[in-house]
Amino acid sequence: MSPVQVRPAALFGFDLMHLTKEEENILEGEKGEGPAKAMELLVAIGKIYDADRLIPIESAQIAGVSYKTMGDAGLEFVQDFAEKAQVKVKAMLNPAGMDLNHKNYESDEFRSKQIELIKAYRELGIEVSCTCTPYLAGNRPSIGTHLAWSESSAVSFANSVLGARTNREGGPSALMAAVIGKTPNYGLHIKENRRPDIVYDVEGDIPLSLLGYLVGRETSDEIPYFKDISPREDGLKTLGAAMAATGSVAMYHVEGVTPEYDDFDIGHLEKVEIGPEDIEEIKEELKSKKEPDVIVIGCPHLSRPEIFELADKLEGRERKNGPDLLVYTSRKVMEESKEAVRKIEKFGSVVSDTCMVVSPLEDKYEVAATDSGKAAAYLPKLANQKVIYADMDTLLEMIA
């Protein structure tokens, strides 16, 4: 397989993406129209980011699943494309716009469109497990593995906590990567680019969702390195999700905790101290004078330990009047936690395949209370909600 250049190197030395003969043949249509289109897209992205070649991926995680965000445009594309292509590697979906098995606040028309969209993805060969936590639902990549994932918190978790390597893909680029089984080699696929940019020295006790909310806003797309926090896995999930929502942080390190923290010299980096006083402003922003009409928990989707913890906290308490409770998790975790789910359902609904951000929450609710920094960042824009941030215990006080 000798390398073939896509076109003569342009004047300025960029555009040096090399394709193997096999890749070149796919580009020219040997495997049909769908794979040719997929290859064309990967090559274009490779050129934009100065990738040198394509590299194999172990799995893809595809955004653009909720009919609420995709609309008829996205639905039509996926339906058309499903007639021309099949995925070549394990591929999973981001949350859809509703629980696929139980009707909730969405309309009948929405349900039928959403079901059509899921059907088209299934025809492409994609597993219908709609979650932002694929790593808790049977797809836990090991260190150094290359991926093409798109959901921002999953990308952050894969890079930071698992040491796998993925850029933050768009829906189309993750889909095309799944069809070819490869992705352009640039960005976070390259070790050197995983180097931290700034050190945060965290003093005192700050909720991880608010720490993430603040740091994401401050750092944009840099790679932060945290000192003096030691979260467990669920805490890392929360922290990374919030940073990826208020900024576009696709990777971070935590000293003594995450797998690659010790691979880089941080001596020369800018250091910033963060203490409880720094999050006062955010706490003010995330207050509302109105009473919440719904409590939403599970952004990102709750893990099995988190579901159990929630069930324990509710054990023996009485439901009082107050806001509805909606708890979001992956179908896999839900099925593995039936007993705990039953306990929680005395107080509200446990919903899978979807979440508060990508479902039409705004059709039923106006003021949402949450303990998630990520949900707090997205709900106003994407679900037209007034948002109240509170920790889990405070939220549960409102209903029991």
Partner: protein
């Protein structure tokens, strides 16, 4: 005039330019029913020229819907394409070339895109070769205010300049220095050419850097001169792309062997 950029999405197409100067988020800024951008600019069947995309990755699918609805552009030209627009153009079979200086393209131009070669041909424009000589002394640079006797860019600030007639550019630059300033000069560097759009002309500027001594004696082409720090070019009302032309010559000077 053919401009070379990067091939992003293949296909050849010819059409009339619809240009906007702001970054475009296809989800939000573009209505897939009407094909209107920012509520006013019609891109149906156009060559849509804009600097760069932004916003939600669902924007890629909005481009696909524009195509399906028949309300979208025939081709796209960007200064810099990012993933959203690249993905949208490719899945919709819309030719796309980027890394193009879109300042050279105006609304209403007829252009031809070759998406495979990464080329954009601006039809119906004339290429006019000119020389511009920057005269420097110590840390200062001579700027000239063009008089009312010249045909183009009256009253604008410029270097020593003139049309390239039958001479080679360096020879022409020396002739112009002699005519416009009567100064002794010594060549320091020759920059890469810089392109600038004005009306139906694209000026291809050949920039030079010369060192001079003494004060210039003006001819009728300029009404006055001033010694300035080079950065001042940016804040003056100059002929098009004067700063870029200076930077090109300066860069050559600082990077020559």
């Amino acid at each position: 005039m053919i401009l070379s950029g990067r091939a992003i999405s293949t296909g050849e197409v010819r059409g009339t330019v619809a240009k906007v100067d702001d970054r475009v988020s296809f989800l939000g800024d573009v209505d897939p029913e009407t094909g209107l951008v920012f509520g006013e600019k019609k891109i149906k069947d156009s060559i849509f020229v804009f600097p760069e995309g932004k916003g939600s990755t669902v924007g890629s699918y909005v481009i696909y819907q524009l195509k399906k609805n028949g309300t979208g552009p025939k081709g796209i030209i960007n200064r810099k394409t990012e993933t959203i627009v690249a993905s949208g153009a490719i899945i919709s079979d819309i030719p796309l070339v980027d890394d193009i200086d879109i300042d050279l393209i105006e609304d209403g131009d007829m252009v031809h895109i070759d998406g495979a070669k990464g080329e954009v041909d601006i039809l119906d424009v004339d290429v006019v070769d000119v020389v511009t000589a920057f005269l420097v002394r110590d840390d200062s640079l001579l700027l000239f205010k063009r008089s009312d006797d010249v045909r183009t860019f009256k009253g604008k600030w410029a270097g020593v300049s003139g049309y390239l007639e039958k001479n080679d550019p360096l020879q022409q630059a020396k002739i112009e220095i002699n005519e416009e300033t009567d100064l002794e000069s010594e060549l320091l560097a020759e920059g890469e050419t810089v392109l600038a759009r004005s009306g139906k002309n694209i000026w291809r500027v050949h920039p030079y850097l010369f060192s001079v001594e003494g004060e210039p004696e003006l001819d009728r082409e300029n009404e006055k001169y001033e010694w300035v720090r080079p950065e001042k070019i940016k804040s003056r009302d100059t002929v098009p792309k004067l700063w870029e032309a200076y930077e090109s010559a300066r860069w050559s000077y600082e990077n020559q062997d």
